[in-house]
Subunit: 339 residues, 4 copies
């Protein structure tokens, strides 16, 4: 039986969740907090959310999926060409020491003996390439996951729920759900991926989703973006609705107890919301704030998907740890699937 | 027998290596190219170097080291406090959308419906925290690994030997060589870690180094840096010689066929060079250019080392993939050891 | 007589100012708001503060000071070597297209016909070189200049009092007060520049301060910084109290109706506060928040001061417009004195 | 008579110029170097070029144009909305300390006593808003202005011809040539502004161009850009030819001995070149490399032009000094016209 103080904490958490429920939520745009939340499940001070499902035991089990040693990077190039959400900059890589300078005899500042070197910098949004959204990245009302007040997220970073909480995590079992293969091609603009699509694809594949998994949904959107030929086509792409996860998938995510859902589209969910287009990405609120489930975006799945289609194995060990950036609300990463 | 054209290629490569040997190298500062090089070993166009030792088979073998599921991040925080080599900037993390703005009612630009979000950016040197030095990062003479001309490394990045070559790699068997434990404490300023230190520590541990391994050498330097209390102490730290790998370790690295050597010091090797202090870091030339062996710097080993001391297992599965940054000469990463 | 609604506005402004007076201000650390403020002087919605003193008429008068055409930049180099307050980064300049790349034949990405070009970027704090502090940069209590709530200054910039308000301003009459010449040498660490110093120097020079002037006080601190020889000396410099303006100068600034005060020290005022060292830079509150007087920091005065000593003219036309960065709380600039 | 060594220097300079003439220049795309160059005019080591025309005397004369004291900023906002050439990033302004954080009680890191402050950073191309192109920004062949080899422009900046050479300059007489008023409206896409347009507008205005002037040509392109309503329209804008200066203006610029030509279009000249569209911006070569005349781009002229139309005075004092960034090949600035 729960100790009384735990009970009080839970009641407070539930009340906080209800209070935070936005007045204009009608059951379509957002699933009610108390139907889907994981607040208090791992303690009232927990900052890791559903990453807690990735236990040591599950990591050991996942390791048994490593049978051929083949490795697949699931990251797009971090460069100026990727599908970065308008308003964010593309990553910008600069060199501050080059071989061409040495060749030109312009190496004065770099003269440290026989050794020569090149050096570089990057300026980039932490949500501007293959990435994790952290639990401090999104919410609704005044509170984030586990009741953390939004006033904890300031100009010096996230005082709580920052990416440092994941530095030893996001490594375990991954499962690819190939909706592109299931539907017979890349999803069209604005397609809503429903629970039936995911379950249909899983059945076709013969795959199972287990607690603690990182579920990876293939949509074909990111590969499609790279086929666009010029700036006009890219501008038109951004003006259209985006294919993504539909609202009825949220309860399934809760029930399956997965740690994270990653996709090869722009922002996980169908955008704007199909029930009410005044809301851009409300399901992020259910995911990050209510359930504490992490969101992966702009992943690259083509190489992995081709291999899965060949060997029929859609499960793998996945090393998807973020960078260790304290106070960050998201992180670029290079997820590597190992079969 | 080698086919004639392969032979010619090898001769050209050897000649190029000899030609590139700096006139002032005397056998102390740099090991002669032809004694230690791996040029042509994986083909004349190879850009991965010793990462080729990390074969699929070795990854499968390494996976058997996952027994408890315990995970250890080997990354320092990416923030303003780390031991970044003078002349480079500390990473700089900024927020462009915050919860405090929403709380203040200043959320106009961020109003996309019920969903609220925080967003952030980073400006950082790719060699300014826990990192890999790529093969395009360092060389001597006019050529880099496998004879790539230095003129391939320009202001738009490394046209060859960039970090994109490692996007599916640097995952496999790791072995910790705890020189701190072997010597009875953190290494003093300017200490030269010799082959005998590494072999002594390995023997004490009962550990073996295998081909394709990522060898990790514990020095105690990075933890020491974090104990410094103010800017004066930190400035004095940088003015002193740095503890690191000595010259006689280079042939051992060649013989063991490891893929990479990472350390918890500033820049892998003893700096400046103990044989000739006019050379800051010449062994980087032997490592990156001649052998194609990767260098890891500024790693965090305290948590892992404590666990190894406890369970006596110094070998583990290591997920140390870099970010996928085309043309980058190095990369930050969050290496995670899994036992 | 003031119209009733104006009177009410003034009372509200005064009340707001009083309410904002911090409980621990004792008359030493901060001058009371109601003794020195300029709120409402230029209308309740004014966002330019004392820049309003730089009227068209005064600009015409100032133009008559242009007699020889000699020009003096009052800016330090924007580079990695300047005296940037710890916690801020030095400006970081990078090149993304170079001549050495063309020389090396690595110009593919830059091939636009016969024309060749170099291109560059900068990452810098807007308060990290010769600069203006804007009225949105500093305050005390909950309000900034003219009662603007601190909640107007968020992660997307200053919704009010941003540097865009100065885009047509900060050009007019400048007067150098050479305290170094008056005191016989650069000011020592922690020296408090009092009203008597300024008035003594002015008298010695035969100079007058007029309304709308930009007053420039020479301390010798920035030139001293550039004589420091290594990182240890620079760390020690930052650990010592800084020479700067003392508290009794504030009422003089109010009375003289100057638009701005600029100095060749780090942060205008003596730091920490000499009356209570728990307060780092409280006079900024009187300057920016109460009086709406702009602060210039880290200016370079050596060339101008030498010329003034030679020709005995300490007054000049000054072009000190900031960059046009909307929402910025400060700006780098290159102030040029013209005699 | 020139001393023999001067003569030799001149011959060498001329020979260098001829040698550097690109093989594919046919008299249309580029004016021959020896017809338009200013190499050696101000000495063989000169790095200021036509800024030398802005003598002290001309500054004194220009000051007489200050009659009303009205000031007009000629800078667009430095923000995410401006017409930045594709491939460059828009300036990116971030806040690292805010009032909303203080309001939320999240001010721990900023607690320095009563004083509160906001702080900000910028990442920007130096050619990404209202700007000067420096003499190190553009060239053809292997050499820049005055025979400086392209190998002087490396990853650590411009070793010669950097913006530091202008820190005391670009202040003097400005003259607006309102081609929009002359042609009866903003110039259409791809319009070539010919010498007759400039002379016609000058005659209509009753204006004269004098040596050392900064000539400012109004095209209407930048204001037109700001009327574009979405990303698709902006992408289409960049896909069309750009209105700008035509080839026959180059000799006129040489003859008038102006220091600089600035425009309110994207990149000064008609792009691509109308004689041979394989060349994007060859006239930059004649301007920067041959004549040493500075180019101003993306200026904002609407407010100034309206005032000139009203009072009939198209001449003014112009404070157009760049930032003092050593080694920079260009600089943002806030040019202010004073009438």
């Amino acid at each position: 039986m729960a100790r009384p103080d735990t009970l009080i904490v839970c009641l407070v958490l539930i009340a906080a969740g209800m209070a935070a429920q936005p007045a204009n939520a009608d059951g379509h745009v957002l699933h009610p907090h108390d139907e889907v939340h994981n607040w208090g499940v791992w303690g009232k001070d927990d900052q890791k959310g559903a990453a807690n499902y990735m236990t040591d035991e599950r990591v050991v089990e996942a390791a048994r999926l490593i049978r051929t040693g083949k490795r697949f990077s699931l990251a797009i190039p971090i460069d100026a060409t990727g599908p970065v959400f308008p308003g964010r900059l593309n990553p910008h890589h600069t060199m501050v020491a080059t071989g061409t300078d040495y060749a030109a005899g312009l190496s004065g500042p770099l003269d440290f003996g026989v050794y020569r070197f090149a050096d570089d910098y990057i300026y980039m949004p932490l949500q501007g390439s293959t990435q994790w959204d952290g639990l401090s990245h999104g919410w609704y009302g005044d509170t984030l996951y586990n009741g953390v007040p939004q006033t904890q997220i300031g100009a010096t970073g996230a005082a709580k729920l920052g990416m440092e909480n994941l530095k030893d995590s996001m490594i375990g079992r991954g499962v690819l759900i190939d909706v592109v293969a299931f539907k017979g091609g890349p999803l069209p603009s604005g397609y809503s991926i429903r629970r039936a699509d995911l379950e249909g694809a899983l059945k076709k594949q013969g795959s199972k989703v287990l607690p603690g998994d990182i579920v990876i949904v293939r949509t074909g959107v990111v590969p499609h973006f790279y086929t666009l030929e010029n700036a006009v086509e890219r501008a038109e792409f951004w003006a259209r609705p985006q294919a993504g996860i539909a609202s009825d998938v949220v309860p399934w995510i809760k029930q399956t107890q997965v740690a994270a859902v990653a996709t090869d589209n722009i922002a996980f969910e169908r955008m704007p919301n199909e029930d009410d287009p005044d809301h851009l990405a409300p399901l992020h609120g259910n995911m990050l704030r209510d359930m504490g489930v992490y969101i992966g975006e702009i992943w690259w799945l083509e190489d992995l998907a081709a291999d899965c289609a060949k060997d029929g194995r859609y499960e793998f060990f996945l090393a998807a740890q973020p960078l260790h950036i304290p106070g960050a609300v998201g992180s670029p990463l290079n997820p590597v699937a190992i079969k």
